[in-house]
């Protein structure tokens, strides 16, 4: 088990190194000089040159890569070209919204999907199964920004339970923060929960058809005991995979929902940075997202081994 975790850790580090190189090179080949972009069209060449020096853009590529990576390792992500503020501050602020939002949405999605998937699988072909499957079909099909707007129309404008957008900041108290994130989290969770419920159902159906389920029944377990004691844990592997993928997606892919609800999250930050050629911000945020994705993959791998002893030997 320890060997398994160590091996995963090694591959995590290797992935990060490769990813950092790829990101750095990709940003390098993108056209557009941040210095001339910042100074505008009419800037004098020597002013641009001076700014390039100041930003460290004239150093060799290798030096710049090493500086970037070692800076990140010590928490220094550089200074934004556009806003002239430390990138780390901008990221911390944004992640304070995107992180909780992703976790909130994932929790909601899991809390909806598990019971729905289990009910659908254990009562296969029943009215409950058919309605749950129909609902998930709809959940996957509806664009989440449209669903978000419906939520706003109903809960904010009609009922006035939630504000229609914006974020008061965590200093206004946990409850206020969570309240502001509720509608976006629901909008994000709907398609995710639908997918997860379908995966849960089909995985559980497969497991319920296995021989060891029959063995358990022959031991005298009731159907309910068989489900809880034998089927669920075995059905969990594909579900964990999907949860891992969904978390990564939610962290960075919430940009549309962030826009609908005027949330200053990571997705919006990176979008703005790209359009303003604020390459240092783009680099850092993308690297951070890669780190989050790789970390989640690592955690999912460890979870596999906890669930399934057969994987521990690998």
């Amino acid at each position: 088990m320890i060997r398994y975790v160590l091996k995963r850790l090694l591959s995590l580090i290797a992935t990060l190194v490769v990813a950092s190189v790829v990101i750095f090179v990709a940003i390098e080949v993108v056209p557009g000089d941040p210095a001339s972009y910042m100074l505008g069209l009419n800037a004098a060449p020597d002013t641009v040159q001076a700014l390039r020096d100041e930003l460290g853009l004239n150093a060799s590529k290798v030096t710049r890569y090493v500086n970037w990576v070692s800076g990140m390792l010590s928490g220094d992500f550089g200074t934004s070209y556009t806003y002239r503020t430390p990138v780390s501050e901008m990221i911390t602020e944004r992640i304070g919204i995107s992180g909780p939002l992703a976790i909130y949405a994932l929790l909601l999605s899991t809390l909806i999907a598990f019971p729905a998937g289990i009910i659908a699988a254990t009562r296969r072909g029943s009215v409950a199964d058919v309605s749950i499957m129909g609902a998930t079909q709809l959940g996957v099909a509806i664009p989440n920004f449209w669903f978000a707007m419906l939520l706003v129309l109903f809960f904010s404008i009609q009922l006035r339970w939630f504000s229609a957008g914006g974020f008061p900041g965590w200093d206004q108290g946990l409850l206020a923060g969570l309240k502001a994130l509720t509608l976006p989290a629901v909008a994000l969770a709907l398609p995710q929960a639908s997918i997860l419920a379908r995966v849960m159902r089909s995985s559980l159906l497969d497991t319920l058809g296995e021989d060891f389920i029959r063995t358990a029944r022959a031991k005298g377990l009731t159907t309910r005991q068989t489900l809880w004691r034998h089927a669920l844990r075995n059905a969990l592997i594909p579900v964990l995979t999907i949860i891992g993928l969904q978390f990564s997606f939610l962290l960075a892919g919430a940009i549309i929902i962030e826009n609908v609800f005027f949330l200053p999250g990571l997705g919006r930050l990176i979008f703005q940075a790209i359009s303003q050629r604020d390459l240092i911000v783009v680099e850092s945020v993308v690297m951070l997202l890669v780190f989050a994705v790789v970390l989640v993959t690592f955690l999912v791998d460890v979870a596999y081994a906890v669930v399934d002893p057969r994987l521990r030997a690998r």
Partner: protein, 531 residues
């Protein structure tokens, strides 16, 4: 005293009658064998007793267990009977255990769902029970997981789960079918011991007459959901009064008629000091990975027209060797030649060589693409030819080969799901035959088939070999079958050939202790010649 009495049992699944008026009974301490081919309803009869029938089933009649009607019991009442008074063991030990729970937990579970005992006490009983089924705790601690055990060991765990609470009735559904002969003999001996020690009744379900002959006091023979013959085991075998019983008996020991050796002196396959290593996972993070030698310095030849058997237990390297001959495994040592041309692994193997050797696999259900018609499936090896037949020639070649394996030309336009297991195996043979190879590797070709179908396929193979001067490498764990269809036999153990020689010599006068052991484990049909 009669423990289980089944009378007029009728079963229908979604109004489709599958069992008709089944009657049988078994006394405490006695063993009843239920015999039948696939689809005869033997497993459904057992599941009726357990009330673990598939969805849509409706059973009528009477199943009296210790004087109580099981068909009237509620699900909750059945739950308390199952595992406590009636235990059941299934066919497939590889999948019958929960892969994510330790064997200790799984055996203990039987105890604590039926009795008010703590976890510790339940695990204590589990430990005793595992000892009882000959899995000593010193070697197999409770913390083992199923994937760390062999098939035979897993079957012992399944048996331990079934007998942990000393049930009065044990139902064993093909408990040894998936196991090697030697393991089969051990498991049967264990079941026999347990029934006599605990005065337990045993319902032994099998398709193998040899298995019941040795262990059952009474037997029931089922066909198409009806009891066709029943009685005391010795009497049934002596009288063979029902034609179906007789047919089954004859098919079980069937020896195809084979013409006197039509073998030619020409060497077709030459396997010379072949070894195959598999890399094992690294033991340390940076240590060199160890390797496991699956095939170790194996040498033999097959002449044109010769049928050679390869026997051995699972894991002995039979299939690896077969794959090496087919050019699907890289060799670490030695060489394989077919007709003097060297076999190279994977993509390097030229088509000219590939078309000289074809293969038939064990599982007729898994070895066809379900979306292709038989015409395409059978004609697939044509791509190995330089100028494959097209159009009418193609159809004619397919028709010809289908007819030579006993199918009709019209079968060419059907899909594979329209065929039974035996027919599929004929199609597999047709596919191997269509480009007239010199050698066909048959990897357990009849193991998945019922005895009567098996007899037909063996006859077909013998006839084809004589007709086309075909050589076979016939791989099987079933010694009776190998004896009936081969000229020469190789006995393999732990990657090595421990004995080889003319089939009759090896079987009647085995030289190696291992061969002897294998032969002793084969269940013998009473009255029949030795296998």
């Amino acid at each position: 005293m009669t423990l289980l009495k089944v009378e007029n049992l009728q079963l229908s699944i979604y109004d489709n009658p599958v069992l008709h008026d089944i009657d049988f009974q078994v006394d405490a301490g006695q063993t009843l064998g239920i015999i039948g081919e696939s689809g005869s309803g033997k497993s459904l009869s057992a599941l009726s007793v357990m009330q673990l029938l598939p969805k849509g089933s409706k059973a009528t009649g009477s199943i009296l267990f210790d004087g109580e009607e099981l068909l009237d019991k509620t699900e909750a009442q059945m739950c308390s009977l199952r595992g406590d008074d009636i235990g059941m063991v299934f066919q497939e030990p590889m999948t019958a255990l929960n892969p994510v729970q330790t064997i200790g937990e799984q055996v203990a579970e039987t105890v604590f769902i039926h009795q008010q005992v703590g976890r510790k006490a339940a695990l204590e009983i589990a430990a005793q029970t595992l000892e009882h089924v000959e899995l000593p705790n010193s070697e197999f601690p409770l913390s083992r997981y199923p994937h760390e055990l062999s098939g035979g060991q897993r079957q012992r765990v399944v048996i331990a789960m079934a007998i942990a609470l000393r049930p009065r009735l044990l139902i064993a559904d093909e408990p040894t079918t998936a196991l090697d002969v030697t393991t089969q003999a051990q498991i049967l001996a264990l079941l026999k011991r347990l029934t006599s020690e605990h005065n337990m009744a045993l319902l032994l379900i099998t398709h193998d007459l040899g298995v019941v002959a040795d262990i059952a006091d009474h037997m029931v023979i089922l066909r198409h959901g009806t009891v066709v013959d029943s009685g005391e085991t010795g009497t049934i075998f002596k009288a063979l009064r029902h034609p179906y019983t007789k047919a089954l008996y004859e098919a079980s020991g069937h020896v195809p008629e084979r013409s006197v050796k039509h073998m030619l002196p020409e060497v077709l396959l030459d396997v010379n000091a072949v070894s195959r290593d598999y890399r094992l996972p690294r033991s340390g993070l940076f240590s060199r990975p160890d390797s496991f030698r699956a095939v170790d310095q194996v040498s033999f030849v097959i002449h044109r027209g010769e049928n050679v058997g390869l026997v051995g237990e699972s894991g002995c390297g039979k299939s690896t060797l077969a794959r090496a001959i087919l050019g699907l495994e890289k060799l670490q040592e030695g060489s394989i030649t077919i007709n003097g041309e060297q076999v190279l692994a994977d993509m390097q193997m030229p088509a000219s060589l590939r078309r000289q050797v074809q293969v038939v696999f064990q599982d007729p259900y898994g070895s066809f693409n379900p979306r292709h018609k038989v015409k395409r499936l059978v004609g697939e090896p044509f791509y190995l030819l330089d100028s494959p037949p097209a159009g009418a020639d193609y159809d004619m070649a397919v028709t010809e080969v289908l007819e030579s394996v006993g199918l009709a030309a019209s079968d060419a336009d059907k899909y594979i799901h329209e065929f039974s297991g035996g027919q599929r195996q004929r199609i597999a043979i047709a596919r191997a035959l269509i480009i007239k190879p010199g050698l066909i590797v048959l990897d357990e070709p009849v193991s998945a088939l019922d005895v009567s179908i098996r007899a037909q396929i063996l006859d077909l193979l013998a006839a084809l070999s004589a007709q086309f001067d075909l050589s076979y490498l016939f791989i099987s764990h079933d010694l009776t079958v190998v004896r009936s269809v081969t000229d020469r036999v190789l006995v393999m153990k732990d990657g090595r050939i421990v004995e080889q020689g003319d089939t009759e010599d090896v079987f009647s006068n085995p030289q190696h202790a291992y061969t002897n052991n294998l032969l002793d484990s084969v269940p013998v049909l009473p009255g029949a010649d030795n296998p």
